[in-house]
Amino acid sequence: MRNRAMTGAIRRFSDFMHPPRTLRWRLFLILLTGLVLAHGLSFGALVLERTNAAKAMMLGTLEQDVATSVTLLDRLPPEERGRWLAVLERRTYRYELGRGLPGVPDLGSRGAEIARAVNGGAGPGFPVVVEAIPGDRPHLQAHVTLRDGSPVTIDVTPALMPLAAWLPLLLAAQLVMLVLCTWLAVRQAIRPLARFAKAAETLDPGGTSARLAEDGPSEVAHAATAFNAMRDRIAHYLEERVRILAAISHDLQTPITRMALRVEMAEDTPEKERLLRDLSQIERLVREGVAYARSAHGDVETPARIDVGSFVESLAFDYQDMGKPVTVHGLSGAVLTTRPHALRRILTNLIDNALKFAGEAAITVTRDSTGRIGVAVRDSGPGIPEHQLTAVLQPFYRLEQSRNRDSGGTGLGLAIAHQLALAIGGSLTLRNRQMGGLCAEVTLG
C-alpha cells in the first residue's frame, strides 16, 4: 500500500520533471527562465548597490549633522535649546533633551555602524553612550552629555529611503514584456515548422496545391526552397512513372491488338479460345496498369457538383439491369463537389470486388457529424484477415489464402480505388463487418 503510494509519488514527480511535450513550450520555458533569472539578478544587484550607497550616504550625513547639532546645542544657553530641537529634526533621527529611555548596550552590526557615526560626529569632547531600545519599534538612542553636564538624547530610527511605489509596477511591466517577447520569439521560430509539417502532410506533387512561399528569414527561405525542390523531384518521378507505364502499355497494346486480330481470323480450334482468353487477360493487366499509373493524378478531371443519391442509384441500377444484385440504402439529397469519373471508377472497383467474392453488394451513403460524406460498399463474403486490411490496398498484393487466386483479378482494383480516393481528396478504408463480410468505405470532403 505504502509502496504503491510511493510509486505514484515518484511517477508524479518524474512527470513534473519531464520536459513538456511540445517544442513550443520547451523553448518558451528555457528562454523565459533564463531571461527572468538574469533580469531578477540584475534587479537584485541594483537594489543592493542602491541600499549600500544610501546607507553610506546616510551615515556620512548623520556624522556631520551630529557634529553640527551637538556643537550648536552645546553653545546655546540651556533655555533656548528646546526651540531648536524641531529645526534639527531629520527624517530618521531627532534630538531630545533629557536622559532618554533605558536600553541595552547590545547594538548589532547596524547599530554599531550608527554608533560609530554618532561617536565620530560628536567628537572627542562629548562622551557618548549608544544603546538599543527594544520594543515593537526597535530604535537606537545615543546619550550625549554636553559640556555643561546636561544630557541630550539622539533618537535614531534606522530606515532607508522607501522604494518608490512605481518601481514594483515597473518590474511587473518588464516581466510581462519578457513573457510576451519570449512568446513572440518562440512563435516566430515554431511557425515555419508548422507550415512545413502542413505542407508535407498535404503534399500533392502533381496537384495544384500551392508551393511553399520562399520568403521570411533566410534559414526558413532556404528550407522552403529545398522543400519545393523535393516536391518537384517527387512530381518528376511520378510523371516519369506514369509516362513509362503509359508508353509500355501503348507499345504492348499494338502487338496485343495485332495478335487478337490474327487469332480471331484464324481457323476455329480449341487453341484459339485459350489464346483469346490469355490475350484478354494480358490486355486487362495492361489496362489496369495504366489506370493505376494514372490514378495518382485525380486532377486531370474537372470537379463537378453531383447529387450523391442519384449518382449511387444510377450506378446500382446499371448493375441491376445486368442482373447483378446491387442495392442502395440511406441518404438522399446530398450534394457534393468531386471528380465524378474518378468516384465512379472507385465505386465500380469496390462493387466488382464485392460481386466477385460475395455475389452481392449493398451501397450505403452516410454523412458524419463533420459533414463528410461516406459511401460504403458492403458485402457478406469472406472478408479479409485484419492484419492484411491495409496491405491489400497496395498494387499487386495477393492475400495468403485464396480470396484472390484464380479469380482473374489483376491485383490492382483496390489499389486503383485507393489511389483515386486520395487523388480526389478523400480516403478509402476497409474493415471487416461484425456479422461477416467486408465494408469498403470512401469518405469524401
Binding site: S249, H250, Q253, T254, I256, T257, R258, M259, A260, L261, R262, E264, M265, L279, E283, R287, V290, A291, R294, V300, E301, A304, R305, I306, D307, S310, F311, E313, S314, L315, A316, F317, D318, Q320, D321, M322, G323, V335, P340, H341, R344, R345
Partner: protein, 246 residues
Amino acid sequence: MDHIDHVLIVDDDRDIRELVSGYLKRNGLRVTPAADGRQMRSFLERDRVDLIVLDIMMPGDDGLVLCRELCAGRHATTPVLMLTARNDEMDRILGLEMGADDYLAKPFAARELLARIKAILRRARMLPPNLQISEAGQLLGFGNWRLDTVARHLLDQDGTAIALSGAEYRLLRVFLDHPQRVLSRDQLLNLTQGREAELFERSIDLLVSRLRQRLRDDAREPSHIKTVRNEGYVLAMPVEITRARS
C-alpha cells in the same frame, strides 16, 4: 448495283491496318488504308468515304486533331469511329466532344469493329442528321432541366449533375427526341433498345418511375413525363438545343 460502303482506316500500324482491311473487305466493305493524317487528307481531297476509322494515338497529328479538322471541314457529315489504346470514360467524352460518332478501345475484336461500323452507317443513313434533336445537341434544355448528351447526366438549375443509369439515359433521350408526343410502351421499348438491348428487361413502367424520381417529379402529379391512360407516356414540354454538338 448496290452501293458498297467505303471505309477509310487511319492507323499508324501497318499490320493492324492490313488485318482490319482484310477482315472488312471479306465482309463486303470497300476499304482504303491510310498510315497517317497526311495520307488521309490527300485521299479525302480526291474521293469521299462513308466512314472513317481513326486511331487516336498516332505520331504527328493525332486522332483528336484530325477528328476536329474533319468536323470543321467539308467532311463534317462523314461519321468517325475512334480507336484508342485507352479505355477510359474521360477519353470517351473527349473523343465524343471532338465530334466522333463512336469509340472503340484497343485491343478490339474485328467483329465488334464491323458491328459498330454497320451500326453507325445504318444510323447515318436512316436518320437525316438534324431530325433527331438528341443527335444534334450536346446540351438539351427542357423545363428547368438540361441533359448533357456527352457526359450523359442531367443538370439541374444550380448546375448540379444528376447521374442517370444507362437505361434511364436511353429512355430520356427517346422522350426528348419525341417531345409532346404520346409514346406507347411498345414504342418506348423498341426505341430504348440500344446496343445492350438484350440486357434491358425491366418494364418500361419501372423505368419511367425511376426517371420521374430523377426529375423530382411527383409520382401522382408528374409535370415532366405524364401518363396517358391506356396509351402510354408523353413528355409534356418542348425541348430546345441549349448548345449544339461541335
